[in-house]
């Protein structure tokens, strides 16, 4: 009978959390509360839970240990068929050291099932292990161990139920959760604005560097008989046609038609259209007299829309037309 009583009471004594010893991570009260939470889970699920965190504090080794058996007691303090333990190693370096603080963590379970990936899926901020408050991340991870065990089928799931009683008068929310909209869509908003700005800058750059340039409309007059032309030296126009057009119509410079001679090639002026530089089909082959050329020059210079044809060009065209072909001269001889 006495043995039976001891067998019944001993597991309960082992499962009851003890008092917190000096802890490098948690305040004593927090360590006790965490151990009590694990003890409740152990009672309901029959799985042992615990944590073991080693800290290298600038060469001084310290540790934080606790389990459902109590703060300061490892998960191996009792005989557990199933156990899940959170382990972590934190290294703090001195201020003068160039090395950064570092931390690693893991989850071990017997039987195997719960691992580090399961813990990572909870999105706990483990960067905080090397921050000012490592107990927050460790506390959340350890508290979540029974949830992970239930998810993996190591234990039955526990279900919380809402408290329908009225809350105490001093129960007030004091945190600042921020905006759901900004948290959810802030990143997307920034991406959209960034892409639009990038597209706008790209368009501006494309327009700036690839602006289409106007090609000069140099159209060479094509004579009817190309074989009759000989390569001639370039001769610039005597006067720019624009200046000629701007002069008053009363005193246009009229040059007499060039006497018959070798054909003179001159490039057309850049301004006037090609049709005006070409000799018209009705051009008279004979040289014009001064009286005949004057009204034509007046009418040409008096037009505002089209600049006057270049005198040299006109003379060249006329002289070319008036000049008899070499074969004709040969016949005459």
């Amino acid at each position: 009978m006495k043995r039976l009583a001891v067998a019944l009471v001993l597991p309960l004594l082992l499962a009851a959390p003890g008092t917190a010893a000096a802890d490098v991570i948690f305040d004593p009260a927090d360590a006790d509360d965490l151990a009590a939470t694990l003890a409740e889970a152990y009672t309901d699920q029959g799985v042992c839970y615990g944590w073991h965190v080693t800290v290298d504090n600038v060469g001084s080794p310290q540790e934080s240990v606790g389990s459902n058996f109590g703060a300061g007691k490892t998960v191996s303090s009792g005989s557990c068929a199933k156990k899940v333990e959170f382990t972590a190693n934190i290294t703090y370096t001195s201020e003068s050291s160039e090395s950064e603080d570092s931390a690693s963590y893991d989850v071990s379970s017997t039987p195997a099932g719960v691992g580090r990936d399961d813990l990572d899926a909870l999105d706990i901020d483990f960067d905080g292990l090397t921050g000012e408050d490592p107990d927050v991340a460790i506390g959340k991870a350890v508290t979540a161990l029974p949830l992970l065990a239930a998810d993996k089928g190591l234990a039955k799931a526990l279900a919380a139920s809402p408290d329908t009683a009225s809350a105490p008068a001093d129960a007030q929310l004091t945190d600042d959760p921020g905006s759901d909209w900004w948290r959810e869509r802030g990143g997307m908003l920034l991406w959209g604005v960034g892409l639009m700005l990038a597209g706008g800058v790209f368009v501006w750059w494309v327009l700036r560097t690839n602006r289409p340039r106007r090609r000069p409309s140099h159209v060479q007059p094509v004579p009817d008989d190309l074989s009759s032309l000989e390569p001639l030296p370039y001769e610039p126009p005597a006067e720019p046609p624009v200046e000629q057009a701007e002069e008053p119509p009363a005193a246009p410079p009229v040059e007499p038609p060039a006497p018959p001679g070798p054909p003179i090639y001159a490039p057309p002026p850049p301004g006037p259209p090609a049709e005006e530089t070409e000799p018209g089909p009705d051009a008279e082959p004979a040289p014009k007299t001064e009286a005949a050329a004057k009204p034509e020059a007046e009418s040409a210079s008096g037009s505002d829309a089209a600049p006057a044809p270049e005198p040299v060009e006109t003379a060249a065209g006329e002289s070319e037309q008036a000049r008899p072909a070499p074969s004709d001269l040969k016949d005459k001889e």
Binding site: I25, F26, A29, D30, D33, L34, T37, E40, A41, D44, N57, I90, Y92, E95, E100, D101, D118, D123, G131, E132, D133, P134, D135, V136, G139, K140, T143, L147, D151, A157, L158, A159, A160, P162, S166, A167, P168, D170, A171, Q172, L173, T174, D175, P177, G178, D180, R183, E184, R185, M188, L189, W191, G192, V193, G194, L195, M196, G199, F202, V206
Partner: protein, 139 residues
């Protein structure tokens, strides 16, 4: 690359940005509309609504968290508690599946005071609000 292809690429980038921007402004909804769209409504009382899901609590938690990121999450061996700007969501086991509670923040804090009290506000609780401390000295 010639002028026109460059212009097309630039316009495409700007167009994608505009679509993303419009989706960010007008797309989606809050946590309540997401729960309405994705889970079976079991009961409702005012602004307190209960949904059920066939998946396990951890899978439901991951689904909700990735779709509508909460401001904070608290864990307890018996459930997940998510804090939003105006609402509090609790995910607990329900047989092989899950039960999802959503309340406005004041009522939710009262309902789940035992689990989140002292963390998101005053008024006690189970004491999982770790006070910080430890060796400190992180750099």
């Amino acid at each position: 690359m010639r002028f026109r292809p460059k212009l097309l690429v630039a316009s495409a980038i700007g167009g994608v940005g505009l679509i993303v921007l419009l989706f960010a402004i007008f797309g989606g909804g809050g946590i309540r509309s997401y729960l309405d769209d994705n889970f079976h409504r079991q009961s409702a009382s005012g602004k307190s609504v209960v949904y059920t899901a066939s998946a396990k609590p951890k899978a439901v938690y991951e689904q909700i968290r990735s779709a509508r990121p909460p401001a904070d999450t608290q864990y307890d061996p018996s459930g997940y508690f998510l804090r939003y700007s105006d609402d509090i969501v609790a995910i607990t086991a329900n047989g092989a599946g899950s039960r999802i509670y959503v309340d406005d923040e004041r009522r939710g804090y009262s309902h789940w005071l035992l689990f989140v009290g002292g963390v998101w506000g005053t008024g006690g609780g189970s004491g999982d609000n770790f006070r910080g401390g430890g060796p400190g000295g992180g750099k």
